[in-house]
Symmetry: C2
Subunit: 329 residues, 2 copies
Amino acid sequence: MATLKDVAKKAGVSVATTSYVMNGSKLITEETKEKVLAAAKELGYRPNGNAKNLKKNKTHIIGFFLSGFTGPFFNELLEGIQVTVIKNGYEMVVCASDDKHRLLLEQYVDGAIILNYHIADELLDSLASEKFPLVVLDRDLENPHISQVLLPNKHGMKQVVDHLVEEGHQRIGFIAGSEESFDGESRLEGFKESLATRGLSFDKKDLLRADFTEISGLLCMKEYLDKEADYPTAFVSANDEMAMGAIKAVQQKGMKVPEDIAFTGFDDIDLSRYFHPSLSTVCVQKKQWGRIAAETLFHMLEKKHAVAEEEITIEFIPRESSLKGVMRD
Amino acid sequence: MATLKDVAKKAGVSVATTSYVMNGSKLITEETKEKVLAAAKELGYRPNGNAKNLKKNKTHIIGFFLSGFTGPFFNELLEGIQVTVIKNGYEMVVCASDDKHRLLLEQYVDGAIILNYHIADELLDSLASEKFPLVVLDRDLENPHISQVLLPNKHGMKQVVDHLVEEGHQRIGFIAGSEESFDGESRLEGFKESLATRGLSFDKKDLLRADFTEISGLLCMKEYLDKEADYPTAFVSANDEMAMGAIKAVQQKGMKVPEDIAFTGFDDIDLSRYFHPSLSTVCVQKKQWGRIAAETLFHMLEKKHAVAEEEITIEFIPRESSLKGVMRD
DNA sequence: AATTTTCATTGAAACGTTTCAATGAAATGT
DNA sequence: ACATTTCATTGAAACGTTTCAATGAAAATT
């Protein structure tokens, strides 16, 4: 691989000059510039980012660290971040990791956005600094160099519970995801709190545990229906997929949704609208989430343009799966 | 940020020793090792990946370069790549770019998988080398250091056309995506070729152009229905989303799918099964695609374990949208 | 006891850049 | 014609690692 030195030699100038040409310094003569560029082209010169970053102690890359790529969830979020990153003249790399987190540790990026429960709080705490700010999307952390941009899950749950109570439900079950998920758990908490506010009690035998997948929702609901004698008239799920699975389980038992048991989801994935019955759910603006996360990071990184306190938009969308009377949508 | 030098000083040993400790050399005494590790911990030492890569001329990172994150398409593909990458002791970064491709150019990665029509053939051609192999998923390129792992689109289209012809269709239209898409265009070609094989002709006024989104499919079909007097009895779409949009347009005109016009999609996204009518489509094993792409790259990178010639699995799935008689799923 | 071998440690060069400070030539001002 | 300023170019140090070759102490062999 040709280096600056090779280019310099070929062009008959110094390495310094070559570097200046590459970086568009205006001190350089048009003539030398052309010579150098020609030499670079001929040699197929490509800058070495590692050397550059090492010298400048700056990469102009930010990282987005997640736990995996599955789920219909990330695309919009990613898009929201990406747009903002480009707008700020940076690049983004997306990395999935479950144990080593090498890319996060070895100073490849100037800052990072985290949505990865595999990464311990303590690690993030020790990593974050003035020069290496972090934005977390999946935890609550007290650190001057870590900002959190969290979904208003409780707010969403309040809307869900309000809706179900207005529809006349008194005993409401909950389908939770894995306990590692911050959003999942805060949805559960929000649910319980909203119930309490409404003066309703929650029996913990009506709490089902699954893992956010459709199949896990189906299985745990099946088991529940077999085990219990009487059921809640409604179930709230921590996400859409599990709700769909659970609905199938109910239907397979010969019961009707929403007549026998009503259901609500969370996230509003594309499918929710098409599912049968269409799924009542909470629509989350993931693109906005991504945008705000990135803006927050750049604010910390560049200390300018104060970032507006903006809550991510969240809205309950009633559909067939929880509407007794009217059928709509 | 603490460096090796700082750690060395604190531990009272040389930089070289410190480096050896960090890399787990077995020559080092247990005693010095502990001293160094303690010092490193105390200073919060983090290795500098850029310096490391610069020295070793190797990153153990491969890149996956795509044009954007939208579409329900990438997750599985990414998952397939990621698993294989980890298995090989590497890391993956995912980058979206539309013009500069800095991360691809500046030697941040040891090799790359490309699915990004923004990147010119010529650039890839000039980039690829023994030390920097490439796998392309979206073009056909003749270069010893570039491998292509392509979907068997034509094969899939043959199955689609066979099916429709057996269902009695003689005049079949096509809904194409943007011309930049390699897969989109090769699906169109495959469609035309299969028609020809069957002895059927294709009138280019039955070729609609959209951009792979549902809304674009809806709009172009609407326009077509308004403009033309008589229609094909079936439409083949280059992907599922456009087919769904087009079906809606037909339904809005008061016609029935599949009775008046039958439709097929391509990809088998989750929604296809739930759509009304459920969508006949070609199921593509994207995870397998990703796995093979990564395996191919590592083969070039490490010159070992010959990679089996394996075609990506593709299978036509008939559903309601193209079945006149029976209704099935 | 003298020689060789093994072993832990180290100094220093190298990787490919950037950028400060220095150089000297040309242009400007007197 | 001389002093000054401006300008294009350059040498060299630095960024944080790795790793070769060298060092000298301890262990093993004679």
